[in-house]
Symmetry: C2
Subunit: 206 residues, 2 copies
Amino acid sequence: MPRPLRLARPGPDVDKRQLILDAATRVFAERGFFGAQVADVAHRAGIAAGTVYLYFKSKDDLLISLFDRTMQDAIREGRDTLNAVSDPADRLRQIARLHLERLGRDRDLAVVFQVELRQSTKFMARLSATRLRTYLGVIRDTIAEGQAAGVFRANVPPTFAAKMLFGALDEMATNWILSDRKYELRDDAEGVVDVFLHGVAQREGK
Amino acid sequence: MPRPLRLARPGPDVDKRQLILDAATRVFAERGFFGAQVADVAHRAGIAAGTVYLYFKSKDDLLISLFDRTMQDAIREGRDTLNAVSDPADRLRQIARLHLERLGRDRDLAVVFQVELRQSTKFMARLSATRLRTYLGVIRDTIAEGQAAGVFRANVPPTFAAKMLFGALDEMATNWILSDRKYELRDDAEGVVDVFLHGVAQREGK
DNA sequence: TCTCAATGAATGAACATTCATTCATATCAT
DNA sequence: ATGATATGAATGAATGTTCATTCATTGAGA
């Protein structure tokens, strides 16, 4: 006899995990990771405190899972978009746009990424070692391709340039969440890439 | 009858405050702000736990004072150095050098600045609102001068450009502390300013 | 009836902060 | 000069609170 693909009863809900992660995003952004109680997260998700531990190992695991989920999404979205673009400069424009669009779309997520995730060296080292490295790698490879194609200067190490671009975008995001946010974060993308590509110095030929 | 201007006995030591702040830098860098106990800081400073509270209001106050002391130093040093340099591009080079030199000189201080100080939005907002704003202002003004002098493009808002440069430097510092630090952080300064001034795009005239 | 997701009260460890006490030194009285 | 007293920096044990995590119990479906 065929059994239903999805349980009809409340059950170990397919999406309770996501529900909890969403609640955690809101609560961590509001109260900060250390200021937030696990019970707050549970309450926001409409469940009991103990239930959180049926889906996550610990409070730390909440934060790590949040990061993983978002980075996985971002990297996939980035790869998809980038496949349709071949010009290296345009690729960088897309990367910058996607980066700032994602954070600008959800302020709470941005707060968690720009502030709460940077709690301790141990923690940051762990993040940097994995998904963040992949993300930086995408930028670096794009730059290296541009150099190979002769449209970017070859005398700038691509990893170095990638860090610069990432740093600039990161700072835009941080400034945005600390400001009153009367502007669209995504609108910063173009300017960042423009300066990154051409610099601020006046061209001599002008 | 004249009384001594300074007590001869051990008294409220002129530098016990500094001593405690130095200890806090080391301990916060090692254990993280939340992982560190006030008693650890006291022990490292060679005093009793309670003594910390004769010099600081709270644990938070330790972190804030640490930030203030360093930023005050940095801004003063920056103003002094910059007075001797008039070319805007050279000024940016000096700013970048001083920035990375200061952090590269003391890894623990760098950890506190790049990681531990970014604990919560409330906290960061407080920092950004004061000394950090002044610091960004120095960069912005230098850029604006360069534009007025015609050596920098005028179609990049100076505040925007300042954020980019700061973000790039900030990322270099963060990467450095997360790496094995087999290189000198200060050596990144030149490259950052180079790209900031001229961009990565190949010059058409070449 | 049986299973197991969900509950939420109870637990116990962690830790910032307090404060009664100590003691080295200064000041005063004689 | 000497002893008596005052000062206040420093101490560190004790306090009280704040949670993360656990687990005995519940009850809704199958």
